[in-house]
């Protein structure tokens, strides 16, 4: 039932406008949080994305699906310019965050990544204590006040539903946590910098079903306050947690639509073939 309710929210965005006023930047629902226009992406001379036009709604989950190597991870990583780290990559077209082109010359990549956080497929706790892992982002942003940091760590761990499991051992190494806990730790770490958008690159694909369920619950909670873009290979997962789904294939955006509509009544033959398991 909740699913249906969420869909109707999307069908009538204006009807919901008043509720969208959050404590932070709150563009009226309907204006996309992120928009890409005519975006192409190149690894050296090899083109990986072709003319992507895509709008990502604020405070909702957008799922990116598609076969391996279709460019969905590349697209995700281009939203906070993580691909800049890779030598020889190039972007043309526009990627707008709240209307500002993040690839324009006067954008500071470091502040961009504070607003657009990321969680990776493989959990990547730093070989430090749990506390230091969460406090990493605030600290490099200049936060040195001990009680402030403690507050941030507690809030982030609670948001990531990990607080009760680790509150008595914050000083212990994060490497000792289980796989699912490590992934929630990474989500908490991303939340600690107070981002507006969270990019997730197959965050649950290396986890067992129980941990996956916890991550999905968490995503469901987080979208009240955050814009979430998630790459997933698991179509049931996309169907369960997302409002919008975009289907990528060989570097092109084949189709984007409301998740329910895309899974039940896709407009493109390719999408239908993929979601019914005929290829990919």
């Amino acid at each position: 039932m909740a699913l249906v309710k969420r869909f109707t929210q999307f069908v009538n965005p204006q009807g919901d406008g008043s509720n969208a006023q959050g404590p932070e930047v709150a563009p009226s629902l309907g204006t996309p949080k992120i928009e890409t226009r005519g975006m192409n992406f190149f690894y050296g001379t090899k083109q990986a994305l072709y003319d992507i036009n895509l709008q990502i709604q604020s405070r909702a989950v957008t799922a990116l699906i598609g076969p391996s190597g279709c460019g969905k991870s590349t697209y995700l990583r281009s939203l906070n310019r993580m691909n800049d780290i890779i030598e020889g990559t190039r972007v043309t077209g526009e990627v707008l965050l709240d209307g500002m082109d993040i690839y324009s010359r006067d954008v500071d990549v470091v502040s961009l990544r504070k607003r657009v956080g990321m969680v990776f497929q493989k959990s990547t706790p730093f070989p430090k204590s749990i506390f230091d892992n969460i406090a990493f982002g605030p600290r490099i942003a200049g936060q040195t006040n001990k009680s402030e940091l403690q507050g941030i760590v507690e809030r982030s761990l609670k948001q990531a539903a990990l607080w009760n499991e680790v509150k008595d051992r914050l000083k212990e190494s994060a490497m000792a946590l289980s796989g699912g806990q490590q992934q929630r730790l990474c989500i908490a770490r991303a939340l600690a910098t107070n981002p507006e958008v969270i990019l997730m690159d197959e965050p649950a694909s290396a986890l067992d079903p129980a941990s996956t369920a916890r991550i999905e619950d968490l995503i469901f909670e987080l979208k009240q306050n955050y814009t979430i873009v998630i790459v997933t290979h698991n179509m049931q997962q996309a169907a369960r947690i997302s409002e919008m789904t975009a289907f990528f294939c060989v570097g092109r955006l084949v189709e984007i639509g409301q998740t329910k509509q895309l899974f039940t009544n896709p407009t493109q033959k390719e999408t239908e073939d993929y979601i019914t398991g005929r290829f990919g």
């Binding site: 993580m82 780290i85 030598e87 470091v110 990544r113 504070k114 730093f126 982002g137």
Partner: protein, 336 residues
Amino acid sequence: MPGSQNNKSVSNDGPNRTDGVLSLRRRFSWTHVREQVIQWILFCCALLSVLTTLSIIYVLITESVYALPPHTAFFQEVSLREFFTETRWTPQYAEEQQHYGILPLVTGTFLITGISAIIGLPVGLLIAVYLSEYASPSARKWVKPVLEILAGIPTVVYGYFAIRFLTPMLIVPIFENWLGMTVYGKNALAGGIVVGLMIIPMVASLSEDVMRSVPNSLRESGYALGSTKFDVSAKIVVPAALSGIFASFLLALSRSIGETMAVAIASAGFANLTLNPLAQIQTMTSYIVDVMTGEVVSGSTVEKSLYAVALVLFIITMIMNLISQWVLSRYREVYQ
């Protein structure tokens, strides 16, 4: 052998096969002989290094700790107590004034090692950070061969560089002419600096290896949290590689301790018990060179003292290598 019977039945079915080819029975063949010979050669090579080590230990112990009756070993002539507590090392004097206290040699050695560590470890580490985190592939292509050239310079050249260039053109002008201190023609500082230069390539390449083995996913996570390159290098990569870096430091320091030629040329003279880097010192290794290149009576206490010094050196270096290996093996566990 049941296997060979099975084979026969198989070979009857198979095309182009004869009984002889498929038989599992061991029989003479040149391939087999060759394999055996190769195995023996390899084993002998491994055995050679083990035997060398064992015979060196044997010689060190029989000359310094205990010798069979007609002969006497070093510690049967000089007490352990004198060796470790006496502050004078004067084997070059006449019989009555000879003293064998290893302390001046140990302080001399550690003075050189300390100076080289101050120079070599931070510079080596910074080069490693540059190569691993900052350098573009093309820059790395230039810097690494240059480091290898630095590592390939004969140590005697470093010694010459220290005594002909560093001391008169750098150390004397600064410390004697400007600060008014006494600088000896041979001083620990010059030797320590060149040994520091020598260990830079070692620290840089070993530390770079461990830093590059830090998984990229950690760097990406750092960047995704809004880190600058410096944040990622200093707060993620270096801490994650810390034990490996520490191990490379220890290996470099045992190289400093063992370094002989440059120190013998640039720093070594009288065995002072001092921590003054501008004074002459004597290190364990340069003492050995000193005695071996001079005239020494065979079977004398002076000659035997070489083995005692070598034994101490051997033990110190071995302990450092063991510690660094232990640290490295612990490091590997972190990332499998």
